[in-house]
C-alpha cells in the first residue's frame, strides 16, 4: 500500500498561504503575495497530479477490480455523541482525485492569470489571500471523509465566495451581490444541515465510507414513512440536495449566481464556473449510493430540478447582454445537465452511465468554462465594459483571446472532437435511456447552448465595428498563457477514457459513441451556431424582431422570469417590513412595555396612597384606631369561624 498521507499538505499549503499572506502580506510589495500564492498552488497542483498518477496507475486495485476508497489521513476533530464525531481527513477515491485535478489546475491557471489581471488593483494582497482560502476550502470539501467535514468546508467556500464577490467593496452592487450569494446559499445550507441531522440520526454516522459502503446503515434505517408519504431517508436526501442545489445554483436557488459576476472575473472563472458551483453535483455524486438505493424519489427530484434548471437558464442566457451574465446562465444550464445526468443514472457498469457522464461533463466543463471566463476577463480588461452591445470586431485586436474563446465556444456547443462533445453525448445517451421526453429537453438545451454561445462570440469578435476610446490590446503574458494552456484542456480533455477511471461503482467499464445520439446532437449544435451566425455576424435587426415577436415570453426571459423580484418581495417586503419590524415594535411596546408598565403601576399606586400621610395628627390617630378596630374585627371573624 502506498502512503498517501502527504495529501494532507494539499490542504495545508493553501491554508498556510492564506494565513501568511493575510497577516503579513502588506509588509511586502503586492506582487510578492501574488507570487507566493501562485507558487503554493503550483506545489499542490504537482502534488495532485502525482497523487492522481499514483492512485490510478500505481496503486493496486481492490479484490473486485475496483478503485479503492480509503482514508489517506484522518484525525478526530470533535466528539458529538457516543457514536457521532466529526473527523478531519483526506478521503481518496476516483471522484475526489478527479476533483483535485480540476481544482488545482483551474486554480493554478487562475492564479497565474490574476497576477496579470489584477495588476495594480487595490487589495491585490487581499485578493490572493482570499483565493488561497478558497482553494483550501474547496480542496477540503472534495477530500472530506465525512459529511460533516464536507459541510464545514462547504460553509468555508461559501464565505470565500462571499469575500471574493464583494472584492470591490466600495461598489454597492458588488456588496449587494455578495450578500445575496451568501444568504441564498446559507438558506440552502440550512436544508443541508437538517438533512445531515436526519441522516446522521438514522444512521449514527457521518462517515462517507460507512454511509456509501455495501452495508450502509442508510439502506436499512430511516425507511419508515415520516412525512407526506416519504421516508426519513428520502427527506434527508432531499434536504441535502437542497444544499447542493443552493451551491450549484439550481432553480429556484439560482438567483445569486448571475449577480455573483460582480466579482473580479478570475474569481468568476474559478469559483462560479469551474469549482464551487459544481460542489452540489459532487455532493450528490458522493452520496449517490444512498440516493439510488435508499431514496430514489430524491434522485428523481434531482433529475427534474436539473432538467428544468438547464432549459430555464438556457432560455434566459439567450436574452442577456452582459457577457458575464450570459456565461453565468450558461454555467447554470450546464450544471443542470450534470444534475440531470446524475438523476437519470442507475448504479453499476453501464447502468451507471449517467453518473459517469455527469462527472465527465463536470471535468470538461471546468476547462472550457473557465477558459470562457478568463477570455471574457481579457475582453473586459481590454475594453472596460462587459456589455456586448459596446463590443464588436475585437478579433483584430485580441487574436489570442479570439482563438481560445472560439475553441471554448465550440467545445461547449458540443462539436466533435472537442471536449464538450464527448461528455454531452454521454449525458444525452444516459438521458435517453431513462426518459425520452427529458432527452429531448436536453437536446433543445444543447441547441440553445450552441446558439447563445455563438451569439456571444459573434457579437464580441465580429458584428459592428465599434469605436473604442483606447485601442484594445492583449493583456500581459500572465493572462495569455493560462488561456492557451486551458484551451489545450478544452481541446483534448474529451479524449480521456473517462469511464475507465470514474464510475458509479468504481469499476472501470467501456463506453462507445452511440451514433444514434451523437449525430442528432451535433446537428442540433450546428443549427444553433448557424442561426447565431446569421443573426449576429453582421449587424441585423432580426434578433430584435424575433425578440419583439415573442412578446411577453422574451420579456420575461430578459427579466429572468422575475424570480429576483419574487425574492426581493419576500425578503424586503415580508420579512423586513412585516416580520422584523413588527417584532421590533412588539418588543419595544409589548414586552418591554409590560416591564415598564409594572414600574408605572407601582409609581401610580404610590401616588394614589400618598393622601394617607396627610400631615394631620388626628388623621394619623384615626388610622391608628381604625387599624386596631379592623384587626379586632378580622380576628372576631376568624375566631367565630
Amino acid at each position: 500500500m502506498i502512503d498517501f498521507s502527504y495529501t494532507v499538505w494539499i490542504l495545508l499549503i493553501p491554508l498556510v498561504m492564506f494565513v501568511v499572506v493575510g497577516l503579513f502580506g502588506n509588509r511586502f510589495k503586492p506582487i510578492v503575495s501574488g507570487i507566493a500564492g501562485t507558487a503554493g498552488l503550483f506545489v499542490i497542483w504537482i502534488l495532485s497530479l502525482i497523487t492522481a498518477y499514483k492512485y490510478f496507475f500505481v496503486l493496486e486495485k481492490a479484490a473486485d477490480g475496483s478503485f479503492q476508497k480509503f482514508l489517506a489521513f484522518n484525525m478526530r476533530w470533535l466528539n458529538l455523541t457516543d457514536t457521532l464525531h466529526i473527523d478531519m481527513g483526506v478521503l481518496l477515491d476516483p471522484i475526489s482525485i478527479m476533483m483535485l485535478i480540476v481544482i488545482t489546475t483551474v486554480s493554478f491557471m487562475v492564479h497565474v492569470y490574476s497576477i496579470g489581471y489584477m495588476d495594480g488593483e487595490k487589495g491585490f494582497m487581499r485578493f490572493f489571500a482570499t483565493l488561497s482560502l478558497f482553494s483550501f476550502s474547496m480542496l477540503g470539501l472534495v477530500v472530506a471523509t465525512n459529511i460533516f467535514q464536507m459541510y464545514i468546508f462547504w460553509e468555508l467556500v461559501g464565505v470565500s465566495s462571499y469575500l471574493l464577490i464583494g472584492f470591490y467593496y466600495t461598489k454597492d452592487s458588488a456588496v449587494a451581490a455578495s450578500k445575496k450569494a451568501f444568504i441564498v446559499t446559507r438558506f440552502a445550507d440550512l436544508g443541508f444541515l437538517i438533512g445531515i441531522l436526519m441522516l446522521s440520526f438514522s444512521t449514527g454516522t457521518f462517515d462517507f465510507i460507512t454511509l456509501t459502503g455495501a452495508n450502509s446503515p442508510a439502506f436499512s434505517s430511516g425507511t419508515g414513512i415520516m412525512f407526506l408519504g416519504l421516508s426519513t431517508m428520502t427527506w434527508s436526501m432531499i434536504f441535502i440536495f437542497m444544499g447542493g442545489a443552493g451551491k450549484s445554483a439550481m432553480f429556484p436557488l439560482h438567483i445569486w449566481l448571475p449577480d455573483a459576476m460582480e466579482g473580479p472575473t478570475p474569481v468568476s472563472a474559478l469559483i462560479h464556473a469551474a469549482t464551487m458551483v459544481v460542489a452540489g453535483v459532487y455532493l450528490v455524486a458522493r452520496l449517490f449510493p444512498i440516493y439510488i438505493f435508499a431514496a430514489p424519489v430524491a434522485l428523481d427530484v434531482v433529475m427534474y430540478v436539473g432538467a428544468f434548471s438547464s432549459i430555464f437558464a438556457a432560455v434566459i442566457a439567450c436574452t442577456q447582454f452582459d457577457i458575464k451574465r450570459v456565461l453565468a446562465y450558461s454555467t447554470m444550464s450546464q450544471i443542470g445537465m450534470m444534475m440531470f445526468a446524475l438523476g437519470v443514472s442507475g448504479y453499476g457498469g453501464h447502468e451507471g452511465l449517467g453518473y459517469m457522464a455527469s462527472m465527465f461533463h463536470l471535468f470538461t466543463h471546468a476547462f472550457f468554462k473557465s477558459l470562457l471566463f478568463l477570455g471574457a476577463g481579457a475582453i473586459i480588461h481590454a475594453v472596460h465594459s462587459n456589455v456586448m452591445n459596446e463590443m464588436g470586431g475585437l478579433r483584430k485586436y485580441l487574436p489570442i483571446t479570439h482563438a481560445t474563446f472560439l475553441i471554448a465556444c465550440i467545445a461547449i456547443a458540443g462539436i466533435p472532437p472537442l471536449a464538450g462533445f464527448f461528455s454531452k453525448d454521454e449525458i444525452l445517451a444516459a438521458g435517453h435511456e431513462k426518459s425520452v421526453m427529458l432527452y429531448w429537453v436536453e437536446m433543445i438545451v444543447s441547441g440553445l447552448t450552441a446558439f447563445y454561445m455563438f451569439r456571444l462570440y459573434f457579437s464580441i469578435f465580429w458584428g459592428k465595428e465599434t469605436h473604442y476610446h483606447h485601442t484594445p490590446h492583449e493583456g500581459s503574458k500572465f493572462m495569455t498563457i493560462p488561456l492557451m494552456l486551458l484551451s489545450i484542456g478544452a481541446l483534448l480533455a474529451g479524449f480521456i477514457p473517462f469511464s475507465m477511471f470514474v464510475s458509479s461503482d468504481r469499476l472501470p467499464f467501456h463506453t462507445a459513441l452511440e451514433m444514434g445520439i451523437a449525430i442528432p446532437a451535433v446537428l442540433v449544435g450546428l443549427t444553433g451556431i448557424v442561426i447565431a451566425m446569421l443573426f449576429y455576424k453582421k449587424e441585423t435587426t432580426v434578433p430584435d424582431k424575433i425578440f419583439n415577436a415573442l412578446g411577453g415570453f422574451s420579456k420575461a426571459a430578459y427579466h429572468k422570469f422575475y424570480i429576483d423580484e419574487v425574492y426581493l418581495f419576500i425578503t424586503k417586503k415580508i420579512i423586513f417590513n412585516y416580520v422584523s419590524r413588527p417584532i421590533a415594535w412588539f418588543d419595544r411596546h409589548v414586552v418591554d412595555g409590560s416591564m415598564n408598565g409594572m414600574a408605572y403601576v407601582t409609581n401610580e399606586v404610590s401616588d394614589r396612597i400618598k393622601s394617607f400621610q396627610s400631615g394631620q395628627l388626628q388623621q394619623y390617630a384615626l388610622v391608628f384606631v381604625s387599624g386596631v378596630v379592623l384587626i379586632t374585627l378580622l380576628f372576631t371573624y376568624l375566631l367565630t369561624n
Binding site: 478526530r76 476533530w77 470533535l78 466528539n79 458529538l80 455523541t81 457521532l84 466529526i86 460533516f148 459541510y151 464545514i152 468546508f153 460553509e155 468555508l156 464565505v159 462571499y162 464583494g166 467593496y169 466600495t170 461598489k171 454597492d172 456588496v175 449587494a176 455578495s178 450578500k179 451568501f182 444568504i183 446559507r186 438558506f187 445550507d189 440550512l190 444541515l193 437538517i194 441531522l197 436526519m198 446522521s200 440520526f201 425578503t571 420579512i575 423586513f576 416580520v579 422584523s580 419590524r581 417584532i583 421590533a584 418588543d587 414586552v591 418591554d592 409590560s594 416591564m595 415598564n596 414600574a599
Partner: protein
Amino acid sequence: MSILTLFIIIPTLTVIGILFSKSHIQVKWVAVVGMSLQLLSAIALIFLYLAERRAGNLDEVLFVQNNVWYETLNIRFYLGVDGVSVAMIGLTALVVFAGIFASWDIVDLPREFFTSLILLATGVFGFFISLDLFTMFLFYELAVIPMYLLIGIWGSGPRHYSAMKLTLMLMGGSAFILLGIIGIYFNSAPSGGQLTFDLLQISKQTIPINVQLFLFPFLFVGFGVLGAMFPFHTWSPDGHASAPTAVSMLHAGVLMKLGGYGCYRVAVFLLPQAAHQLGWIFLILATIGVIYGALGAIWQKDLKYINAYSSVSHCALVLFAILMFNQTAMNGAIMQMISHGIMTALFFALIGMIYGRTHTRFINEMGGLMKVMPFLAVAYVIAGLASLGLPGFSGFVAEMTIFVGAFQNADTFHRVATIIAASSIVVTAVYVLRVVGVLLLGKIKNEHFETLPDAKWYDKISVVTLIFGITFIGMAPLWLSDMITGGLGPIIHKLLAAAPILN
C-alpha cells in the same frame, strides 16, 4: 489553599491596588497587571485541570477548598471546579483581560471605573468556582450591582433609565433565585440530617417532586432573566446600548453567562424531575427567543441594539440546548456560552471603538469604514462571520453540537423546535451581512470619516486576544469539548435517573 482562591484574591488585591494608585496611568496598569495575572492563572488552571484528569483523577470536582463559614446554617466557603467551570473561568479571564484594554480611553473617574469593573469580574469568578449555593448567590449579586454604576456613570444615551432598568430586572431575577435557593436549602435533607447549601451534596439527594415543581420555575426564570430569556430580555438591548464598551463586553460576554450557567448548574442539576416535567414550557420560550431575537435584530439601526438582539438569540440557544437534556446538547450549551461570550465581547469592543471614532452608532450614518479603518473593519467582519456560525470559529462548533444534540430527541416537538432554532442561522446571516454591508463596505457617507484613525495598540491587544480565542476554539475544539463533557457526567446521570424513559 487551593489555586481557586487566587481567583478571588487577585481581583481583590487589584482593587486595593487601584484604590491606592496615584495617577490615572497607574490605575490602568495596576488593572492590567492584575487581570493579566488572572488570565495566566486561568490558563494555568486549565492546564492543571487537564493534567489532573489525565492522571486519572475522577473526582467530581477538583481543587476543592471547603471551609465552614456559618456553622449553624451550614454555609460553607466551598470552592471547586469541574470541566464546565474551568471553561467558564477561562472565558471570563479572557474577556476581562480584553475589557481592560478596551476601556483604556476612559478619562472620567478611571479609578472608580476599574474598581467597579474588577468587582464585577470578582463576582463572576466567584460565581463560577463556588459550590455552595449561598456563596454562589452572594457572588451573583456582587456581579450584578457594579453594573448600575458602570452604565449609569460612564454610559451613553438614556444611561440612567437603562441602568436602572437593567439593575431592577436583574435583581428581580435574583429575588426569584433567592427564593429557589432557600427552598432547596430547606429540602436539602429529605431523609433527615443536616440541611446544606452544598451543591454536590444536594445533588445526591432527591428533593420531593412537588417541591421541585414549585421551585423550578423560580430558579429557571430567575437565572433566565440574566440569560436574556424571552420575554425577560428587554433589559438587554437598552442596557447594552447605554453601557460603555468594556461593560457591554463583560456584560454580554460574561455576566449573561451566569444565567445560563445557573440554569444548568442549579435549576436543572438540582431539580431534574421538575426540569423534565416543566422543561417544555421553557423550551418553547427559548425557541421563540432564538428566532425572535434574530428577527428582531434585522430591523434595528443602532449597532448595539443589533448586537443586543443577536445576543438574545444566541443566549436563548444556550437555554434551548440545556433544556434538551442530553450530553451533546448540554456540551453545546456550554460551548455556546463560551463562544458567544468571546464573540460578543469582540463585537462590543469593536462597536465601542468605532463609536469612539465616529460618534454615531447608527449604521445608516456610516459606510465604507473598511477603507478608513481596515483593522477594525476586518476584525468586525471576523466577528460577524463568527457570529453567523462560520466553521473555523467557535460559534460553529457550539451551534453544530447543539443542533446535533437537540436532534437526538426523537419526538416531533423537539424536532420542530430544533429546526426552528436551526433556521436562525439564516436569519443571523441576514443581519450580520446587512451590518457588514452597510457599515463597512460601500462608499464613505460622511467626509469627516475619511480622516479617522485606525485601532491604537491597546485596541489591537483587546481585539487580537478575543479573535485568537474564537479561532483557537473554532479550529481545535476537541480539548474543550472533552473537558466539558467530563464535567457533564453527573448532571446527565442525574437527568437520566430522573427520567428513565428518556432516550
